[in-house]
Symmetry: C2
Subunit: 153 residues, 2 copies
């Protein structure tokens, strides 16, 4: 069983998942790329984009809500598979980020599946609080586009 | 109300979404890139990758199952928003494909939302038959990876 404890130095900021500007002893930096221990069979199945990433759809395990979409390279996936917590790779900041380290909005891993093409992951989690850095439960809430709907009859 | 009718020339192939090798009069080619009529406000909000694409998560509207992940450029999104049917852009084939044209496994659009970052779409649909070209209901079925699970206690 894994436990998650907020250390005294953890910054609680509901509006941001930006990591602190300097590494802190209480929260080891997760931004350093590292050789990945991802099992060879999984690594061989991944179909990465030109930046070495696959898309990771994050879904609440009991309600099936789609919470957000993030990106993972081999190392982020290995950390996600082996630690019980979801780690992404930030395309904009070019560094690893473990969901909830700054916001407290942890994603506890329930299962991970790789799709038929190898370019998308479905990560089912138990989401603590809001998944979105804007404070909404999901990153899609209240962001509907006008669309013509269709049906079979 | 939109209706979907299989034309006489439509190839029903449950194992493939590959388009026919040559355009047919009964099924206008959808592979020709075109200037998009996507509303300017939406186009301005999209954060496209280096290939001009955003990720599109497709979810069954009534069960919340995550069915698959595809890719859309501006034109594919505009077609999806305006026709009641989901159109993707294939990264591997570099052409548009309208889900179900070859398999019959149509996706009827129920709603479309753009996430907080502008780099992911959530397309809620009514999926006819299997979403996956391999014949499974979703592209993630039976494809779980070994993962350590986590919990808050």
């Amino acid at each position: 069983m894994l436990t998650f404890t907020l250390s005294a130095g953890t910054r609680l900021d509901l509006m941001s998942e930006q990591p602190a500007s300097a590494p802190r002893a209480s929260n080891p930096p997760v931004s350093t790329p590292a050789a990945s221990d991802l099992p060879a069979g999984i690594a061989a199945a991944l179909k990465r984009d030109s930046a070495g990433l696959v898309a990771a759809v994050v879904q609440q395990f009991d309600t099936n809500e789609v919470l957000m979409l993030g990106w993972m390279d081999d190392e982020a996936l290995q950390r996600t598979l082996s630690t019980g917590r979801v780690t992404f790779y930030s395309r904009s900041r070019q560094e690893y980020w473990r969901k909830g380290d700054t916001s407290g909005h942890v994603q506890w891993v329930k299962s991970v599946a790789l799709d038929c093409d190898g370019d998308a992951l479905l990560v089912r989690v138990d989401q603590v609080g809001a998944a979105c850095h804007t404070g909404t439960r999901t990153c899609f809430d209240g962001r509907e586009l006008d669309a013509v709907t269709g049906s079979s009859s």
